[in-house]
């Protein structure tokens, strides 16, 4: 099993223009900072990015928007950044908005080998247009499809060399289902350990889903909304 890479650039070596990527995180919490930097350095273009949010102007996916590498965002909530809004309004950027639970579940279903499922979210709204509608137990549901990507880019807290992952607090968010859904899953971790150092009862993502792993560096962990109690 040779899953360990030296750094982000090496781990993303085969991501090409026009690729579809899943990027873990919620807001700026738990985003794959190293992979994003490496994508910018590599300069791949026309990316379709599946990510719950699109970062802020000078951090996260916002950085890739600045460099015009993103063709399309598939998200539930965007527009925390001015550049995003500008590109959207000018037609440079496509956006596909999906209810957050539907987005998370479509990704999770890809990782479970389930091609389609029914959810009530969006019934009776414009989200339902063109979708199959069906009643179960007198409640109405839409059929939604599993969402796949060429690569999943995910940041975990700890990982071992077999790809077993542990997350910290609310960083699990979209990162866990994305890690399981990627055709190729690339994971950056704060701490890379040997097999046996993680308790087999406490692993959030089994290594079988993870193709590449590397120890990330220089985590900034930007906070989007700092709120405090006095």
């Amino acid at each position: 099993m040779k899953k360990v890479y030296r750094n982000a650039s090496e781990a993303i070596f085969d991501i090409q223009d026009d690729a579809t990527l899943m990027l873990g995180g919620f807001g700026l919490c738990g985003i794959p900072e190293n992979c994003i930097s490496a994508l910018i350095e590599k300069g791949v273009k026309n990316l379709t990015c599946i990510s719950n949010n699109a970062g802020v102007d000078d951090f996260g996916i916002g950085l890739m928007l600045k460099t015009r590498q993103v063709k399309k965002m598939i998200s539930s909530y965007v527009g925390e950044n001015a550049e995003f809004e500008r590109q959207l309004l000018s037609g440079e950027l496509e956006v596909d908005l999906i209810p957050q639970g539907t987005l998370a579940t479509r990704i999770a279903m890809a990782g479970m080998g389930i091609p389609a499922f029914f959810t009530p979210a969006g019934y009776g709204t414009e989200i339902a247009e063109g979708k199959e509608i069906r009643a179960f137990n007198d409640k109405m549901y839409l059929m939604e499809l599993a969402l796949h990507a060429d690569f999943s880019l995910v940041k975990a807290w700890k990982g071992d060399t077999l790809g077993n992952l542990v997350f910290r607090k609310t960083t699990r968010n979209f990162s866990v289902p994305m890690a399981k859904a990627g055709n190729i899953t690339i994971v950056e971790v704060e701490e890379l350990v040997e097999p046996g150092q993680l308790d087999p009862d406490d692993i959030h993502v089994p290594g079988i889903y993870v193709h590449r792993i590397f120890k990330g560096i220089d985590y900034e962990k930007r906070i989007e909304r700092k709120t405090v109690s006095l």
Binding site: Y77, A104, F174, S175, R225
Partner: protein, 218 residues
């Protein structure tokens, strides 16, 4: 006098019951957590992946890995638990959350709600709102009774793109408390000093006023 946002939150907090799992939306709903009635215990769910959400942290305890669905730094209470977004919406869809409180731009007399999109304006997305309204067992809308132009937000039919259909059970506005059922708004309580006539004047949808309507106790 119409309630301010704190008053709305305070009145909604009276709907909490011991043992409830509650999801609070962004804005006024978030304030509800400050007014939990004494003697009861509730757990707050944040749809980005946490149960047992606590107050904002002290400066020294800020943790970038611990935020709520509004992307604010928060804390976790003893007995809290973290999970991923798929699990989070799984428990929401399965009806495990007892109460969802969220804001709205418009509510219709049949319970339809619109709160995510205004045609012609930059659309930021629905976030988790469509999942929450389609799945929650019990939804209370916290909102101003009228928009900045003074137009009623309690309507016969929503004019904005819908977030969900027939799902709102109760509204607490700055003017009163309303059940939404049988295709109408049933006035239950008036804000202190607000008259039934004022509420009637500011409610475009079908309003039902049965008997004497009490003032709310805050």
């Amino acid at each position: 006098m119409a309630l301010d946002k704190y008053g709305i939150a305070k009145r909604i907090a009276q709907e909490l019951q011991d043992g409830f799992y509650v999801n609070l939306g962004i804005g006024i709903p978030t304030l509800v957590a400050n007014y939990i009635p004494e003697g009861i215990s509730v757990m707050f769910q944040s749809e980005n992946g946490m149960l047992g959400m606590g107050p904002y942290p002290h400066e020294s305890a800020i943790d970038a890995d611990l935020i709520n669905a509004g992307k604010e730094t928060v804390t976790v209470l003893p007995g809290g638990v973290f999970f991923d977004s798929a699990e989070s919406f799984g428990m929401i869809r399965a009806g495990k959350v007892d109460l969802t409180v969220l804001g709205a731009m418009e509510v219709a007399e049949n319970g339809d709600i619109a709160n995510w999109k205004i045609p012609g304006k930059m659309v930021k997305g629905m976030g988790g709102a469509m999942d929450l309204v389609a799945s929650a067992k019990n939804i209370i809308v916290a909102m101003q009774h009228t928009n900045p132009k003074g137009e009623s937000k309690l309507l016969p039919k929503c004019s904005l793109p819908l977030t969900g259909v027939g799902c709102v059970k109760k509204i607490v506005s700055d003017l009163g408390v309303f059940d939404v059922k049988n295709g109408a708004f049933y006035l239950l309580e008036r804000a202190p000093g607000v008259t039934v006539e004022e509420i009637q004047a500011k409610t475009a949808g079908k309003l039902i006023v049965e008997g004497d309507i009490p003032e709310m106790h805050l």
